[in-house]
């Protein structure tokens, strides 16, 4: 009797305990799934907000390249053509397109077209000068407000005073849509132009080049220094206080917030050395100092992975220590150090705060061509667009994020490839 009660108790307790076990396991499982779900949601948000930026809206205009309006003649030189009055042609095209517009309406309709439309009309003419005095059907870029409306990013059912386009403009847009004079095409501007105040002609080319120049600087500075430092610490450094200090220093430097490195760049590189502000040279130097600890740690790990027998073998046949290290150990560790460097570069690519500190946040409307030219960088460009009030910039920021993520993914893929292809297991 007593025995069975005890047995029952044990059974129920065991049940309870195993239930508890199950529950704990599921907590862990749920936590893992939640973390992954956030990752998926994050990527989904970026994609759903950003994919529309790869398309732009264009509008068909009938442009009359009348020589009197342009103030050109069929045998004008190229230079004169550059100065043709293309804005008047555009104005005329709009007026012809919507006959019987009042003066105020013309202004409203003009706002449906991008500021770049004049240039497109001009470029078409410069490419085909024979079209003078003829009428041509030309697709020109629409204003960002129209673009956002047609992509469904801004809604038309909000009250008129909170909309970018008022009722009259909406009716003209509808008319254009009805007449099939609007279509969406691949947005080449996004990849060929630098930043702009006008969302429809803003692109990532400038900031992409800026990031490339910055990464180049980071690589040039950090790779040799990191290899030198790690070779010294791993192979030559005597075991003493100073070496220990350097090691502690490196591991602490790895955890210093990136913004502090920005302050270092501002306080020392800009104010003391007077290097040019907002340039990839300064940005790259700051990021190189920032990523140096990461790269040194990775390089040391790959140097450590080379078996001591290699070095000992070299020493045994009479090489000096320097020869043994530089002729045998370092070449074997090179793939590992490169992998570490690429991972450090990937970290540098995404870093924003230090670049803001050294002024790479300035508005730069042209594509940089050198290390000492003011330029933007991809992450800072994203920040500028996220902060911008204009609706049209939101999709741009998401699309720029896609660009940077793809960039990062490729760098990591190269790192993994190098590791798998060249790293030897001993």
């Amino acid at each position: 009797m007593n025995n069975s009660v005890a047995k029952e108790k044990i059974v129920s307790l065991r049940k309870k305990r195993s239930l508890e076990d199950m529950r704990f396991k599921y907590y862990g499982f749920t936590a893992m799934c939640l973390s992954l779900a956030v990752l998926v949601f994050l990527l989904y948000t970026i994609f759903s907000k950003g994919y529309t930026a790869f398309q732009k809206t264009i509008v068909l205009l009938e442009v009359d390249y009348n020589q009197d309006v342009l103030k050109l003649t069929p045998d004008s030189s190229e230079e004169e053509m550059e100065k043709g009055k293309f804005f008047r042609v555009k104005k005329q095209a709009i007026e012809n397109f919507f006959p019987d517009l009042s003066k105020s309406d013309i202004k409203l309709v003009k706002k449906l077209f991008s500021i770049n439309a004049d240039n497109e009309i001009k470029d078409y003419f410069l490419d085909n000068p024979e079209v003078i005095n003829t009428k041509q059907q030309i697709w020109v870029t629409a204003h960002s407000d129209v673009d956002q409306l047609l992509k469904g990013n801004s809604r038309r059912d909000v009250p008129e005073d909170r909309r970018k386009l008022n009722d009259i403009q909406l009716s003209y847009v509808d008319q254009l849509v009805e007449e099939n004079r609007v279509k969406q095409v691949f947005n080449n501007f996004f990849f060929t132009k630098a930043d702009s105040r006008h969302p429809e002609i803003a692109g990532v080319a400038g900031s992409f080049m800026g990031s490339l120049f910055t990464l180049f600087t980071v690589f040039i500075l950090s790779f040799p220094i990191a290899i030198g430092a790690s070779v010294y610490l791993e192979e030559f450094a005597p075991k003493n206080r100073i070496t220990e200090l350097i090691e502690v220093n490196i591991s602490n430097l790895a955890a210093v917030p990136s913004i502090v490195f920005g302050l270092l760049g501002l306080g020392v590189l800009l104010n003391v050395f007077g290097l040019p502000r907002s340039t990839p040279l300064v940005g790259g130097s700051v990021l190189a100092l920032m990523t140096l600890p990461t790269i040194i740690i990775a390089c040391r790990a790959s140097l450590k992975a080379v078996p001591p027998s290699i070095k000992e073998g070299a020493l045994a046949v009479g090489a000096t220590k320097t020869q043994a290290v530089f002729h045998h150990v370092v070449p074997l560790a090179l793939p590992g150090t490169l992998t570490g460097t690429i991972i450090g570069l990937a970290q540098a690519l995404g870093e924003t705060a230090p670049l803001i500190m050294i002024g790479m946040i300035a508005f730069i409307p042209n594509i940089p061509t050198g290390l000492t030219e003011p330029s933007a960088a991809l992450p800072v460009q994203i920040y500028l667009w996220v902060e911008s009030a204009e609706r049209g910039f939101q999709e741009k920021s998401a699309a720029a994020i896609m660009v940077i993520l793809i960039f990062l993914f490729m760098m990591n893929a190269i790192a993994v490839f190098l590791r798998n292809r060249f790293e030897r297991k001993w």
Binding site: R17, E20, D21, R23, F24, K25, Y27, G28, F29, T30, A31, S35, L36, V38, L39, L42, T45, K49, G228, A229, Y232, L233, F236, I246, N249, I250, N252, L253, A255, V256, P257, S258, I259, V260, L263, L264, L266, G267, V268, N271, F273, G274, L275, L289, P293, T320, K321, T322, G350, T352, A353, I356, M357, G359, I361, P379, I382, V386, I401, L405
Partner: protein
């Protein structure tokens, strides 16, 4: 200009190498003795004496050229009595005109003169730069070539030089730290000369207003950083509330329950989470989480602002998850297998083993991981800049707008950076606080983790 000088240096070192090699061969043949080292070492010796002086010249030119030229131009500028000049703007104007003659239309005669002065100075500087590089390389090669005798131990010397180079490389980290400490302390001292340190640390009014014009009677700026510290703390707490349970449970699941295959797929995925740039999290917080938090706050009757501590903190928590999970995973894995087996052997099930044996054993390491995560959260910038707002509110309500140390640093330094007012300098004082706190957390965390490792190894 600097690209071609690099080409020049490259040509220089190449020819010096060839020269050194043929020279030593010639010398040893003349004397009829074998040289003490291989000819390459003599060549390297000449090369180094050619390269390093040239690099020093190169970098000092790159760093100081512009400044010296600007100083000369400004000191020779014909200032007009009574007119007010802003030196930075003036210089920018002069440079513009010098680089682009079409800007000269309509500029005053002093500026055009200064611009031509500037251009001529640049030309002089360029010519003297190239000449001095060539001269210094020749001098270096000349000095080195005198040593090219067969009885000279070139290899020893080269190896000693290599040691110096390596030591220099390793001390870059030290120089960086010194640079950080020096610049933070120097500018902070300038800040504390104008604002008392007690006001900064203990006063609750953050109102970095600076009278723009002399004699403006509006309120003096006040720099009490308590609301900023409080905001930082609030965001950090929210982030840790998200990251600790999720990160720790994920780590436990991966280390103790998950099959090898799950581990192999999930760990890289979590690493993706760690590799995403923080500005991307900022975008995510701004576009998705903040509106959600606002709507949620409204649905339970709290007036949430569009940017809030909760939104920023939650997203920051997600950012920290992989950090905590991978560190904790390491720590849990380094608990000796014997402890696990002993616990299972006396009949405890897995959950009991984890809760009563493994976690207590791993506790120091996990605490270390948390401290590192906290230091990460405090130093994080872009998420809070985008999603937490800039208003210094002294509040414990996570639905409200708060500001953090990093946000205030960014705000103070965006735009016009004049280093003569406390508003700009406050960034360095805040940076100093941030640096000290994160360094402190870090040292403690590393100590704890190190002790913990020693216990089980």
């Amino acid at each position: 200009m600097f690209f071609w000088s690099l080409v020049l240096i490259a040509v220089g070192i190449f020819s010096s190498f060839i020269y050194g090699r043929s020279r030593i061969k010639l010398n040893s043949k003349k004397q009829g003795t074998k040289s003490k080292s291989l000819p390459t070492y003599y060549a390297q010796y000449v090369l180094m004496w050619c390269l390093f002086p040239a690099l020093i010249v190169y970098f000092s030119w790159a760093i100081f050229q512009e400044q010296i030229i600007q100083n000369i131009v400004i000191s020779n500028f014909e200032f007009i009595e009574g007119a007010v000049y802003n030196e930075g703007l003036l210089l920018a104007e002069i440079r513009n005109v010098a680089n682009n003659p079409s800007f000269a239309d309509g500029k005053s005669i002093e500026i055009i003169n200064a611009a031509s002065h500037y251009s001529s100075l640049r030309q002089i500087s360029q010519i003297s730069f190239y000449t001095s590089i060539i001269i210094i390389m020749l001098l270096g090669a000349l000095y080195a070539s005198q040593k090219l005798k067969p009885e000279f131990h070139a290899q020893h010397t080269i190896e000693r030089y290599i040691q110096y180079i390596l030591i220099f490389c390793s001390s870059v980290a030290i120089f960086t730290t010194i640079g950080i400490v020096f610049s933070l302390i120097f500018e902070s001292l300038r800040f504390f000369a104008e604002v008392s340190i007690f006001e900064f640390l203990f006063s609750t009014e953050w109102y970095p207003f600076i009278p723009i014009r002399e004699g403006q009677t509006a309120a003096e700026g006040s720099f009490g950083a308590v609301p900023i510290f409080a905001g930082t703390f609030l965001v950090m707490v929210v982030a840790m509330c998200v990251a600790v349970p999720l990160g720790l449970l994920t780590a436990i699941y991966l280390a103790e329950y998950a099959s090898q295959r799950v581990r192999k797929t999930v760990k890289p995925l979590l690493e993706i989470l760690a590799g995403i740039p923080t500005i991307v999290y900022g975008f995510f917080a701004f576009v998705s989480v903040a509106p959600f938090v606002k709507a949620f706050g409204q649905s339970i009757g709290i007036d949430a602002s569009p940017t809030s501590a909760l939104a920023a903190g939650m997203v920051m928590g997600v950012m920290i998850i992989p950090f905590i999970s991978s560190l904790s995973d390491d720590v849990i894995n380094s608990v000796p297998q014997s402890l696990r087996e002993a616990s299972l052997g006396i009949g405890a099930n897995k959950a009991e083993t984890i809760k009563k044996v493994i976690l207590p054993a791993a506790l120091p390491g996990i605490v270390g991981a948390f401290l590192l995560a906290i230091s990460r959260a405090i130093g994080e910038t872009m998420i809070v800049v985008v999603a937490a707002g800039t208003a210094p509110n002294l509040t414990g309500n996570p639905f409200e707008n708060v500001t953090t140390v990093t946000v205030q640093i960014v705000v103070a330094l965006i735009g016009d950076q004049e280093f003569d007012n406390p508003r700009t300098l406050s960034a360095f004082a805040l940076g100093l606080v941030l640096f000290v706190i994160t360094l402190f957390l870090n040292i403690i965390a590393l100590q704890i983790v190190k002790r913990y490792r020693e216990r089980y190894e």
